[in-house]
Amino acid sequence: MDFDFTEEQDMLRASVRKMMDKLATPEYIRRLDQEQAYPTELYQAWVDMGLLRMPFPEAYGGLGGNVLDMVIIGEELSRSGFDFYSAYGGGVFCGLNIVRKGTEEQKNYWIPRLLSGEIKMSVSMSEPDAGSDVGAMRTHAHRDGDDWVINGQKVWSTGAGAANNVINVYARTDPKAHYRKGISLFLVDNKTPGVKLRKLDMLGRRCTGTYEVFFDEVRVPADCLIGGENGGWDCILGGLQYERIASTAGYCGGAQSVLDMALNHAKEREQFGQPIGAFQAIAHMLADMQVDVDAARVLMLRAAWTLAQGRDALREISVAKLFGSEAYVRATNAGMQIMGAYGYSMEFDMQRHFRDARSTTIGAGTSQMQRNVLAGLMGLKVK
């Protein structure tokens, strides 16, 4: 049992926080959120700092960091807003997928470009009729000479429309096979002819952006297939645990910053001649929030540690994802109550966290899907 981070990890946290404090000022974040603008300046700073290189092996230009380093980055980026973390995590985990599943040629082609910021990457999986039910996926690709031709429609694709973005799209390549044996992963530049993007107006996470993507006879060369024909399911599963744990770290970072904000307000705001934090009803709400966030963080660290030992951590991660996302939503809800009308005002940051957080029990596997996974691991056959 060791809850300490290394000296290097403490330094990593301090430098990420310093960079975010400098660039992601309240005015900057507010402008981006209002204008639904991509955090281009932040992304460039992450590239310059080498944050994108963190989890990649040194052989491909990475820093060889482990899951705990990623947890620190996830927490720190999300303190300003979970939305920013998704701009970071989206690209990194697509890249790691290529490291695991790509050919040597593919790795040498894509990874340096991703790490230098020349390209970005995003995932497209969900479809109008295939949300939690991945098996209902209908987008398909068929072989035509040396090319693959993709047709279909994806929805809720985070960050798909960013500049120089390469969409990691999952499509059926064997319609007769079970979906676990009949889907493949393709890398498609978002400017390829036949790709049409529609930016969706969503309640939150408005900077990185959520897109609907249409594929109409989109032709990509055969070397854009990652993990081999019908190898898509393995690509999804291969990085899932790592990705979920880093997102969960994001929930924890966001929740703690919401708590800090509410705590500051409770210490400063006076009503009835005293700071509202001196009233037991408010003080206890804040105490409960801290218990909730600490519990989420301990569960997240346990899962990260398990994964760092090279063990299967599906149970630990599902527990942490479920609890962490729900705790983040609860924290923003309580934070808004403590800030009262100020929390409800767009001139303060609480409402943005309230909006952004609300997606976390829905995206990357709903709370209901996490419970299904857990119940299954507990030996229950759930219908």
Partner: protein, 384 residues
């Protein structure tokens, strides 16, 4: 113990629902929410239908309805949008205040104008340093000849910027050190009076009726704009509080039921894993809980309403119903978003609007914490 509606009340509900269906179409609501436009078309229709008249006796042009009638109207409007109820209730309760506390001349001047839709009214009470703590109010009015001169700042004033709106302004008229309950007065101030500056605030929800910050810089109002006499403001505020809260509760219940109805329909239609998601127990039970809670909120609401209608003091029952119904509305909208998934999170569906609008319900009109204080005190607890 079920409340039995009269035939007239059932007809009233039908008519209000039909009118709302006709004017407040999904496109209309979406547009006024997005563009932050006051729902003038609805407010005009309410005047034409005589819905404002429900609160006033026939001699002032009304039709002498009961609180039950007002609740029916409030609930029906809220089924479309909780935000719209603010536009209706403002007129109703400011008007009732004038009716209860005004002179005969004031009543004859203001009430017909309200009923015809010629003027609107809204309340301004909160200030930057006076939210739940009304005693910290610092806006002042001082007498100068046959006028009063008002200075100060109000915050979170719903609907204050609408056309032809008269702000019902509470402010201090005695030394600030004296008891505010004996030193507050109510003035009617035109929102375009010289010295009044309005700033529309950007808020998470309730964006159609709008929330304003108001600055009063040497605003002169004639003495006949004082309602309930000098230092009679606290009495004015209390005189309508029970009615106002009870009718607001009907809006939470109407909004929450609309959320349940929409979500139920979605859960029946949306298929995943080859069947409607509503046939999964996890989703079905969420909906069952939502409906149970809304029904419980409704039962608490009728308990309070019966007492108010009978002229009894119902502060405890109203506070319990306000607390429970507002929390239920927030919770229902939150669960609805979970059931809708990413579609609920999209601005192209209505659930996110209910989610945003509902979140104001446990803050405005007395926070949940203030309701708990009231209830606890009525349980003979002395709270610090």
């Amino acid at each position: 113990m079920d409340y039995q509606f009269t035939e007239e009340q059932n007809a009233l509900r039908d008519n209000v629902r039909k009118m709302m269906d006709r004017i407040a179409t999904p496109e209309y609501i979406r547009r006024v929410d997005q563009e932050r436009l006051f729902p003038y078309e609805l407010s005009q229709a309410w005047a034409e239908m005589g819905l404002y008249g429900v609160a006033f006796p026939e001699e002032y042009g009304g039709f002498g309805g009961t609180i039950i009638d007002m609740m029916i109207i409030s609930e029906e409007i809220a089924r479309k949008s909780y935000d719209f109820v603010g536009a209706y209730n403002g007129v109703l309760f400011c008007g009732l205040n004038v009716f209860k506390n005004g002179t005969e001349a004031q009543k004859n001047h203001w009430i017909p104008k309200l009923l015809s839709g010629q003027v609107r009214m809204t309340v301004s009470m909160s200030e930057p340093d006076a939210g739940s703590d009304t005693g910290a109010m610092r806006t002042t009015a001082r007498r100068e000849g046959d006028h009063y001169v008002i200075n100060g700042q109000k915050l979170w004033s719903s609907g204050a910027g609408a056309r032809n709106n008269v702000i019902n302004l509470y402010c201090r008229t005695t030394d600030l050190k004296s008891d505010y309950r004996k030193g507050t007065s109510l003035f009617l101030v035109d929102n375009d009076a010289p010295g009044v500056t309005l700033r529309k605030l950007d808020m998470l929800g309730r964006r159609s009726v709008g929330t304003y910050e108001i600055f009063f810089d040497n605003v002169k109002v004639p003495a006949d704009r004082l309602i309930g006499g000098e230092n009679g403001g606290w009495g004015c505020m209390l005189s309508g509080l029970q009615y106002e809260r009870t009718v607001a509760i009907a809006a939470y219940v109407g909004g929450a039921q609309a959320v349940v109805d929409m979500t139920l329909e979605y859960a029946r239609e949306r298929k995943q894993f080859g069947k409607p998601i509503g046939s999964f127990q996890a989703i079905a039970h969420m909906l069952a809980d939502m409906q149970t809670e809304v029904a419980a909120a409704r039962a608490l609401m009728w308990q309070a309403a019966r007492m108010v209608a009978a002229g009894q003091d119902a502060l405890k029952e109203i506070s319990m119903a306000k607390l429970f119904a507002s929390e239920t509305f927030v919770k229902a909208a939150n669960q609805a978003m979970q059931i809708y998934g990413a579609a609920g999170y999209s601005m192209e569906y209505d659930i996110q609007r209910f989610f945003r609008d509902a979140r104001g319900a446990t803050i405005a009109g007395g926070t949940s914490q203030i309701q708990r204080n009231l209830i606890a005190r009525l349980m003979n607890l002395k709270i610090e």
